[in-house]
């Protein structure tokens, strides 16, 4: 499980190519909360 934490690393990326996409989605949702909060 721990190797899913670093999806940008090449060896992880090769084995689980979708991991980084998921990370992006998660991060982007988290960061969007900052944007939504600031927009209020």
């Amino acid at each position: 499980m721990s190797e899913y934490l670093w999806p940008w690393q090449s060896h992880v990326f090769i084995l689980h190519p979708w991991a980084i996409s998921i990370m992006f989605i998660v991060l982007s949702l988290l960061l969007s909360m900052i944007s939504w909060f600031k927009k209020k």
Binding site: W6, W8, Q9, S10, H11, F13, I14, P17, W18, I20, S21, F24, I25, L27, S28, L29, L31, S32, I34, S35, W36, K38, K39
Partner: protein, 364 residues
């Protein structure tokens, strides 16, 4: 207000697009037809960029990350917009990783990696905190120098006795197959898809009407330059070396010898290559920082710059276990997973939505 001249935008775009291809060569899987692949990629890439420009014109004054909230609304648009700075940071990390492999190989075999990369990141931080205008001026300054060096290199190579035109033949002997495999998706996306980053910067242009023209000329210049270098590399090194070597253009430089006096110039070559990578990484990060600033309504850029540079340094350092993995990811996997959705699919949807909206006459 930052005002950028047409020339500066042109210079920055070209140097950005040249980026890492100056060492890695372009489309080497296509073998001796790589230069054809390059020209094709440039041609198709140009239309893609024109697509981005169309989006720009439909939402004048807005930058990339502002497009999505405008068309898709804040709840969907903002998360989608956030993808882009994350991607830019990842791309910057890839650039750092390239450096991590290149510098110990050619310049500093003994030096610890963190010193090499850390010092580079410090300079990049200084660069970013100087503001966008300085970045454009730097490119404007650098462009003639780099091109002068390119021309010198080409002339010297042609003058040496190593150029064999027949290495290029038979043209397309293996058919179009492998050419197309390189053009799509990697060829187009690598250099030209990445240009979508510039959509963060296009609003700084002094005369927005010039946008399309500048980009077309830039793509032309980039395409021809890289194609010429590919051709030269093949002519001098032969198809085999070109395909298999990681840094074919570096090997190319090593062949140069000026009247048996100055040789082994690859160290110098690495220096000017390094400057283009430096600029490309800085541009990745500057656009990321600007995007973050827009998305978080931050007042000063200092904190985003700090966070972004540290993050990039971190992920860049531990990204690749070895160079083969790194390149494999970069050419086979990355384009499919991240680039196609973010450079093609989402912008295409955006374009359609914006166009439909315009036609229907509703404004949001």
């Amino acid at each position: 207000m930052v005002r950028v001249s047409g020339y500066q935008l042109f210079a920055t775009t070209v140097l950005f697009q040249l980026g890492t291809t100056v060492i890695f060569g372009f489309a080497s899987p296509a073998g001796r037809d790589a230069w054809i692949a390059m020209l094709l990629s440039a041609f198709i890439g140009m239309f893609m960029i024109l697509g981005y420009i169309a989006l720009m014109n439909m939402m004048p004054g807005l930058s990339l990350v502002e497009w999505f909230p405008k068309q898709f609304g804040p709840w969907l648009g903002i998360p989608i917009a956030w993808f882009y700075p994350l991607l830019f940071i990842y791309d910057a990390g890839r650039g750092i990783s390239d450096l991590k492999e290149l510098v110990p190989l050619t310049l500093l075999p003994g030096t610890p990696t963190w010193v090499i990369l850390g010092s580079m990141m410090l300079v990049i931080m200084y660069f970013l905190s100087s503001g966008v205008e300085v970045i454009f001026r730097f490119a404007g300054l650098l462009f003639p120098i780099i091109f002068f060096l390119f021309v010198a290199e080409i002339l010297l190579l042609l003058g040496s006795r190593n150029v064999h035109f027949d290495n290029l033949q038979p043209l397309l002997g293996e058919g179009w197959g492998r050419v197309w495999k390189t053009v799509w998706p990697f060829g187009i996306l690598q250099t030209f898809g990445e240009t979508i980053e510039f959509a963060m910067l296009w609003s700084f242009l002094r005369k927005p009407g010039q946008l399309a023209g500048i980009n077309i000329i830039a793509v032309l210049v980039t395409g021809v330059t890289i194609a010429v270098f590919d051709m030269l590399a093949i002519m001098v090194l032969g198809e085999g070396v070109f395909q298999r070597n990681i840094y074919p253009l570096l090997v190319l430089l090593r062949q140069l010898s000026i009247s048996d006096f100055l040789d082994n110039l690859d160290a110098l070559g690495v220096m000017y290559f390094m400057t283009t990578i430096f600029l490309k990484i800085s541009l990745h990060l500057m656009t990321a920082v600007l995007a973050i600033q827009k998305l978080t309504s931050a007042k000063s850029l200092r904190l985003p710059i700090l966070i972004v540079t540290v993050t990039t340094l971190w992920i860049g350092s531990n990204m690749a276990r070895n160079v083969t993995d790194h390149i494999f990811v970069g050419t086979r996997i990355l384009p499919y997973n991240l680039w196609i959705p973010l450079f093609i699919v989402i912008p295409a949807i955006l374009l359609m939505v914006a166009w439909i909206r315009k036609k229907a006459g509703t404004a949001l």
